[in-house]
């Protein structure tokens, strides 16, 4: 899929944000049994290093995901991630969205409800992509497809560079 010509041959690459130490982590020694609410930064940390399906860059470096495009309501167990495809006709948008969903499925407690959306106006078939990414039956079926799972796992694999 990747070899057959790139969707976006020359993406703009942005600098990674410096990693902040979360206040909660710094205070962890104070009371290790305290309930630590999940916040925007924690969710961002889970997804910032996901690799783009066709470039050796992270979703953060391509500005596909950003901390302020994440909404978290810890009390109600709700997370919404709005991502921005690099080009309007990006056929990788559903794969990227699937990577985001799988990563958060594996990282967040199961009580969390997660919505994944394309940023309004950034994709030609925004409604169709959103509908597919939030249909859990289609997501479940997709994740039983070995080729697709390989592709997702590749994007989620830790990078060693």
């Amino acid at each position: 899929m990747v070899s057959a010509g790139l969707i976006n041959a020359n993406p703009i690459v942005y600098e990674k944000k410096e990693r902040r130490v979360r206040a909660a982590d710094a205070a962890a020694t104070f009371d290790e049994y305290a309930v630590e609410p999940i916040d925007q930064l924690e969710v961002f940390d889970h997804i910032r290093d996901i690799k783009d399906p066709e470039h050796p860059y992270s979703l953060e470096e391509l500005k596909v995901v950003a901390e302020d495009a994440i909404e978290v309501d810890d009390l109600h167990g709700y997370v919404r991630v709005t991502f921005t495809p690099t080009v309007e006709h990006c056929s990788m948008a559903t794969v990227i969205g699937l990577c985001l969903r799988v990563k958060l499925m594996r990282s967040l407690p199961s009580r969390y409800k997660v919505d994944i959306k394309v940023a309004p106006g950034t994709h030609a078939s925004e409604a169709a992509v959103n509908k597919q990414l939030n249909d859990k039956e289609r997501v479940a079926a997709a994740l039983e497809n070995p080729n697709l799972v390989d592709m997702v796992d590749e994007c989620l694999a830790p990078s060693y560079c």
């Binding site: 199961s110 409800k113 509908k131 249909d135 859990k136 039956e137 479940a140 079926a141 039983e144």
Partner: protein, 352 residues
């Protein structure tokens, strides 16, 4: 039984655990639905763990369930839907592996006696007609197949119905007539009937222009009389539809279905399952982990029927609820299943 004027409460009777992945669908065996001593109730459940489980209630008891059988090694992917034949002897299971399996209960053991192939990809739903002579399946390949049950447990494809523009989430036969209903990711509900020469055609499409849903329609259910239908959707509404059953039976099957009312503002996330009880209570299961119960307002018929929320149980499951099913024989006994892999048995009763 008159439930209208009472305060209702929902009692949790039992939690059934065993599936190792989300439970997608449930089916009560219609022949064993009552708590007769010689005929213990059976409930089938199917899951993302690729198995089907058969649960049996201890005779003459409302509690004490156990897993009687695990049906495995027939499906290689998620089992999405299951349905008992009206006689209760056969169980059909539809899977993402593109097949539908037919299981026969032989002295308490379940044997796979037939595998129906033909769909291009994931089968999402299976349903038997009232007489048990026809089976219907629906798939991500956008088609609905009608299968004729032949002597010797042979199943023959009688028709392939095309018309939906996207995957077909659920198929359901009318409770008394051989009319088939399908609902889809394309936001529509389609009504299918046989024209007298063996050909099946779409006789009606309920879409947004006929006050239908604006997103995926996940499920539908009929009232006991078969003259009303409820549909549930990703658009966070339930819709009630009605038809003139007399005209439907006497004329040409074409008695149209008309939108009666929309129940909006009650659900916060996708509604995956809806089921209408014999007593007229509509149960819904949704992605907000809650089960809700609705009933018709009998005193408010001036502006057409309206429905009110009878009861809402928050956190009925720890995760999304995928299926709610009333026991067909016993009043107010409900089974629910969710992404948490659990099945729960509930009793809706008047509070004392």
């Amino acid at each position: 039984m008159d439930l209208c004027d009472r305060n209702m409460e929902l009692r949790e009777i039992e939690t059934l655990e065993g599936h190792t992945d989300r439970v997608w669908s449930l089916a009560w065996n219609p022949a064993t639905a009552t708590a007769a001593a010689d005929c213990p109730a059976l409930l089938a459940s199917c899951s993302g763990d690729k198995t089907v489980r058969i649960w049996e209630r201890a005779p003459s008891s409302t509690r004490s369930w156990h897993c009687k059988a695990v049906l495995e090694e027939s499906h290689t992917r998620t089992v999405r839907s299951c349905a008992w034949s009206p006689s209760g002897k056969l169980l059909a299971t539809a899977s993402f592996d593109a097949t539908t399996a037919i299981w026969e209960n032989i002295g308490g053991d379940f044997e796979c006696i037939s595998t129906l192939e033909g769909h291009e990809n994931e089968v999402k739903s299976v349903t038997w007609n009232a007489s048990g002579s026809l089976l219907a399946t629906s798939s991500r390949d956008k088609t609905v197949w009608i299968w004729e049950v032949m002597p010797g447990n042979e199943f023959e494809c009688a028709s392939v119905l095309q018309g939906h523009k996207q995957d077909v989430k659920m198929v359901k036969w009318h409770p008394t007539m051989d009319i088939l209903f399908s609902c889809s990711y394309d936001n529509t509900v389609k009504v299918w009937a046989e024209d007298g020469t063996g050909d099946w055609n779409c006789i009606q499409t309920l879409d947004e222009s006929s006050n239908g849903h604006s997103s995926t329609v996940w499920a539908l259910s009929f009232n006991a009389e078969g003259d009303k239908m409820v549909t549930c959707s990703d658009d966070l509404t339930l819709k009630i539809w009605g038809t003139d059953i007399g005209r439907m039976e006497s004329e040409d099957n074409c008695g149209p279905w008309i939108h009666l009312c929309t129940l909006s503002g009650y659900h916060d996330r996708t509604i995956f399952s809806v089921h209408w009880s014999r007593e007229g209570i509509i149960a819904s299961g949704a992605a907000d982990d809650a089960i809700r119960f609705f009933m018709e307002n009998k005193d408010d018929l001036v502006e057409g029927p309206s429905y009110r929320l009878l009861l809402k149980r928050e956190k009925a499951h720890e995760m999304d609820i995928n299926s709610v099913q009333w026991n067909p024989g016993e009043d107010c006994l409900l089974a629910s299943a969710g992404d948490d892999g659990k099945i729960k048995i509930w009793e809706l009763a008047s509070s004392t």
